[in-house]
Every structure is written in C-alpha cells, then in structure tokens.
Amino acid sequence: MASALLNFLILFPLAVALVIVLVRKGSLFPLVIYPASAVLIGASCLLVGLSAGGKPILIPAHFGWVEPVMLAVEGVVSAYLLFLALKQRDWAVSALVVIQSILLFGFHFGTGHSAHAGANLFFDLFSVVMGLIVGIVGTLIAVFSVGYMRDLHKHSGDHAGHAIPDNRPVFFGIIFLFLSAMFGVCFSNNLLWLFFFWEITTVCSFLMIRYKMDDISVKNAFWALRWNLLGGLAFLLGIIYLYHTQHTIELDKLLSLPKALVMLPLALISFAGLTKSAQLPFSSWLVGAMVAPTPVSALLHSSTMVKAGVYIVLRFAASLEGTLLGMVIALVGLVTFLIGSFICISQNDAKKVLAYSTIANLGLIILCAGIGTYEAVWAGILLIVFHAVSKGLLFLCVGSIEHKLGSRQIEDMSGLVIRLPRLAFMLEIGIAGMFLAPFGMLISKWAVLRAIVDYNPLFAIFLIYGSAATLFFWVKWLGKIINVEKPYTNIETGISRSQWIPMGALTGLTLLICALFAPFAVVFIDPYIVALYGHSMSLGAGNMAIMTIMLSMIGFFPLAFLNYGRGVKVSPPYLAGANVGELGQQFRDSMGGVKAMHMKNFYMENYFSEARLMRLGVLVTVVFLIAMIAIGGM
C-alpha cells in the first residue's frame, strides 16, 4: 500500500503534466487540473494513514528500468540547458552543466556502475509532513494559477510594452512536473534518485523564472540556474565521495554512519541545501526569481522548492549536532536571518518583502538544523509547516492584489480593507501568521529561542535583533492596509473562483494549524524527534493553555466589529484646523490651495540599505562557507 501510494504521488502529477502538454488547449485546462488536483490532495491526505513512525520505513522495491530512464532524462536535460546557456553566452552555467554531466556519467559508467541501493524509496514522519505540504499547499497553488494565469495574459495584452507570450500548456505542465519531482525529493532514499529529483526542481525553477521571456526574466533565470547548479555539483560530489569512501548511496545509511566518517559528504550536501534554500551568499537568485508569475513564487520560491534545501539539511541535524560543521551551518542561517530581516525594512515592493522574509525564515530553519538538538529540530519542522502555509497564502494574496490594483507597492495598498475587503482580510491573516503571537511562526520562534539559548546564548543575541526587525516591517505593512487616506470604493470583482478557493483554503489552514498545532506536533513531530533523540520537546501544558486562551481572544477580535461605529461620533482627522472638503480629509495649505493628505511609511533606506547589507552578508557567509568545506575535509 505504502509503495503504491508513493509511486502514485510521484507518477500521477507526471502523467497530468504530460496530458496538459499534449492537450495544449486552454479551455480544457480546468477540466484536467481541477479533478487532478482533487485527486492529488486526496492522495496526499492518505499519507497520514501510512502509519509512518519516527524511524524510516524503507521500501525495497526495485525498478531496473528506472535508472537508465533517469540517466537518459538527465542527458537530454543537460544537453538542452547547455544549448540554452551557450546561446545566452552564459559560460558559468555552460561549464557547470558540462562538469556535472561528465561527473554523473563518469560515475554511472565507471566506478558507480555497481552502486545499488537496497531501498530507493522510504518514508518517515518528516517525509510525510513534507509530502503533505507539497500535496496540499502545492496543489492549491496549482489550482490558483489557473485563474491567475488567465488574468495575467488578459492584462498583458492591455499594455503597450512587452506582451507576455502565452505558453500556458508548458506552464501548467511544469507545475505538475515540479510537484512530481518534489514528492520524489521527499521520499527518495537512494541519493542518486534524490539528486535526480533535486535537479529536476532546479530545471523547473529555471524554466518558470524565464516564463515571461523578457530580458530581465531570462537573465534572472540564468542567475538562479547558476547557483542551483553549483549546489547540484556539490551534491553530486558528495554522493561520489560517499560511495568511494563508504560504499553506499543510501540516505538512511549515510545518517546511521558515525559522524566523523561522513563529514565531507554531509558538508557538500548541506552546501547544496544552502544554495537551494537561497541562504547567503546565494540569496540574490531568489530575489531575482520574483520576476516569475506569482504562483511560481508561491510554489517554488517560498512554499516547497526552497523547502527541499532546508529539508535535506534538517535531515542531517542529528549528525550535525555538536559538530563544528553544524555550528558553521547554524551561523550561515543566523546571518541570513538577520540580514534578510533587516533588508525587509527598506523594501516597498511587496513581493520583495516576501522574498527577503522567505530567505530570512529559511535561515532560521537552517539555524535549527545546524544546532541539531532535539528542541531545534522540533522547532525547525514546525517552522517549515507554518511558513509554507502562511507564505503561500501571502504570495497568492499579493498576486491577486497586484492584478486588481495594478501595483504591488506596499505604499499603494492604503485603504485595502475598503477596496478589497476579503483579500485584505486574508492578507492580514497571512501577515499575522508570520509574526504575531499566538500564531504559528511565533510559536516556532519561541521554540527556536529556547533551543538556541541552551545551545549558545551569543547566537540568541542576533536572533533577537532579527526578530525585532521582523516585527517592524510586518506591522508597518499591516498598518498600511488598514489605514484609509481618502474615500475609496470596493473594487473586489472579477477574481475567479479558482483564485478564491485556494486562498480561502490556505487562510483556513493557517488558522487551523495555529489552533491545532499542539496535537499536530504530538502526532507528526514528536515521534520523529523521539526516534532520533530518545526524548522530545514540550512547551509546557500551562503555556499551551495560555496560548490557546490568547488565540481564542484573537478569535474574538472580528466579533468586536459587531460594535462597529456604535457609541461613537465620526469626526474628520485633526489637520491643525485646516480641514476642507465634505469629509475633511483634505486641507488648505499656506498658499490657500487645497491639498490631499498622504501618509507614508518609514523605510530607512540609509540605515537598512539592501545593497550594503547584502554585501556585508555575502562577505561574512563566504568566509563561513569556506570554513564549512574545510571542516568537512578535515
């Protein structure tokens, strides 16, 4: 049953992708995608029934034909990428593709020919949690993209500038291909399989970033490809080295070997994880990737693909615990969290804020992995779950808002609660989910703080500064949404159901996992932690009770709106007595002219400048990375 389900999850999206690409007919997409998504979500939910435990359950099935097929696919993809890279004259990417192919084929036809994994697939609770995220959040985003892409192409025709070529069959095809690859990443035990799926996600990301095919998209796509290929190269080197020294290519063996023997493979594969999850110094690729259509940003660059990077490092957590390597990885994550949070303060572009905050939160998870204690891993897994749901929701909201307002600048979102009330509500839930007690991210941040204080209190100092910055940029965004500068009208029409349903579902999920996170942790996270460490983490029953009380109090906040406008008298804002106009929202200036009031947020570019902070972060983390590889080699 388990084997069949995992195979189904990997192969079914692949089949859907093929169908979509073959059908190529716009009107038929919903007919294919909606039922397929329903099936996929249903199948993912079955994962819960697998009775997965903390210990990995290996699936010893053998498919002799799979490996040649994978190799062939890798060959074709490499050739295609090489062709594109040469056409673009991107020598770095070309070189990386060539080196990787030589190594991979050399390994397969050379020494690695005899490499066989006892079990290619496996699952444990951690994979199941990842699978649920991919299956539910990922599929919801796929559904969202149907309506979104229709809007995108409708709007792109209006503009005189670059019209986006309508290539939707390929778009949806890649989305489903990507889902298939993500399931592969979560459930592969054979490291070569894992590597294969890993590279497929890289290619998907590349193709999606360049979807709009304008200069900037293509350029950023190659930039992203370069760093991900570099990570892929490190991954491959790690596998080859592992095979040569320990004669295994299996994940469970790697994790059960004595730490000291596998330091270099761990370092190399963690390096790959850092590139994939856009940690400093590689973060710029994820920021550049924001040129892609918003569902892509939601799916690949915040909810799932970048999670593959943290997933693999978090898998190694127990091996990294207490090692120098773990400490360096933790430092990279910490610096990324700090710098990412600081940069968010100076950003006005909503997608860029989300991008940097994604980078920062991934940094937090990497930090947990590097610390590697049971508390940290517990917090890290929770972070993955909460972040995937809330951030996915935020991206989708921003995408829809951008289509309605024609802008995604935060400064243009004044009065959103009046103009787009339902979207604004969902956006508020998403933002609250990101930083406010007692919502998800804060629960996990609390756990992280406790873990880190036990580990090394000096790290806690930087974590605390980063989280203070987090507070600032989220509140000012929230404030901008509810602030009303002038009279607005409701323009919330024409948003398709394919957009509403996923957004509504994600809003519900954000609230649900906040309310039920304690049982969720007991069922899905604790057994995994117990299997790894022998004991698990608890925030304390009293604290849980308090959290629940707080959550229910916040639940009452919408109820307060029953009192809306009761017992109060409306009066214009105080403008030093110079109000004019019926609503008094304008004022007479010193020359007798009438001016409208404007309210702008603080951005503090001089103090939290993107360029300067990035440079600093890159400088620091490059040193750490060199140290990391050196430590692994020792």
């Binding site: 009066s571 105080y574 030093a576 007595g577 110079a578 008094g584």
Partner: protein, 146 residues
C-alpha cells in the same frame, strides 16, 4: 465636585492676537501660577480638550480654522474668549479683515477682558468655565437619555 471640574483640559488657539495674551496664557502654566495644580493641562489637541481658549480677534483667514477646531472637540465643551480682542475685536475691530470677537462665529461661554489679560483672570475664567462645563454635561447626559 464632578470629575469634569477636576480635570479641565485646554486647547489654546491664537486667532490674530499680538501674542501678549498668549504669553500670559503660558505664564499661567509656568511655576509661578502653575494651573496644573487644578488639573489644567494644555493639550494642543481638540479631540482631547474640554475648553477652547481663544486669544485674538477672528478674521476671514482663521474663521474656518476656529470652526474646525470647535467642531472637532468632543461634547461637553466650553469656549473662553481671552483678552479684549477675543471678546470684541479690541483695537483691531475696525480693520478691513477682522470680523470681530469670537462670538461672531462661536457661542462664547466666558468673556475675559484685559490687554493683556492677567494670569489670575485666566485661572478665574477656567474655574468659571468648569462650572459651565458641569452644567453642559448634565444637559448632554439628559439629551443622551432622551
């Protein structure tokens, strides 16, 4: 004594005064007279104020401003016209741009003559204003119940 009379918060608006009265208003807040002894605070914000304290005469330019400030004060509220200009226009009464005293635009509750007005008179006026405030509150409450 009710709570209102123990905590009269004042907003001070300078119409077109020569600043003589304004200096006296500030003097009343200073250590020598220290009106905070009676709970008087100069808020500078109509939304927090109970007493609108005006100095100087009303002209075309400041008429809408005075009206705006008055309208943005929560009930119950009283208006003090402080200084001779505020009560009648004073020596500026005949100017082409001057409308006259505050009572041309607002219902004034207490008139305080003087050029410039003495701090003792201002304190006296506030105390008188506080009494009227209490009366207005009773009326306001009755109106609210009715």
């Amino acid at each position: 004594m009710g709570m209102l009379s123990r905590s009269p918060w004042v907003i001070h608006y300078d119409g077109s005064s020569c600043n003589g009265c304004d200096i006296e208003v500030l003097a009343a807040l200073m250590p020598r007279f220290d009106v905070e002894r009676f709970g008087v605070v100069n808020t500078g914000n109509p939304k927090h104020a109970d007493i609108l304290l005006l100095t100087g005469s009303i002209n075309e330019q400041n008429k809408p401003v005075v009206l705006n400030i008055y309208n943005q004060m929560p009930e119950p509220k009283v208006v003090l016209a402080v200084g001779i200009c505020a009560t009648s226009g004073g020596i500026f009464r005949e100017c082409y741009n001057v409308l006259g005293g505050v009572d041309k635009v607002l219902p004034v509750d207490v008139y305080v003559p003087g050029c410039a007005v003495r701090p003792e008179s201002i304190i006296d006026a506030v105390v008188k204003g506080v009494g009227i405030l209490e009366e207005k509150r009773a009326a306001f409450k009755a109106a609210g119940k009715a």
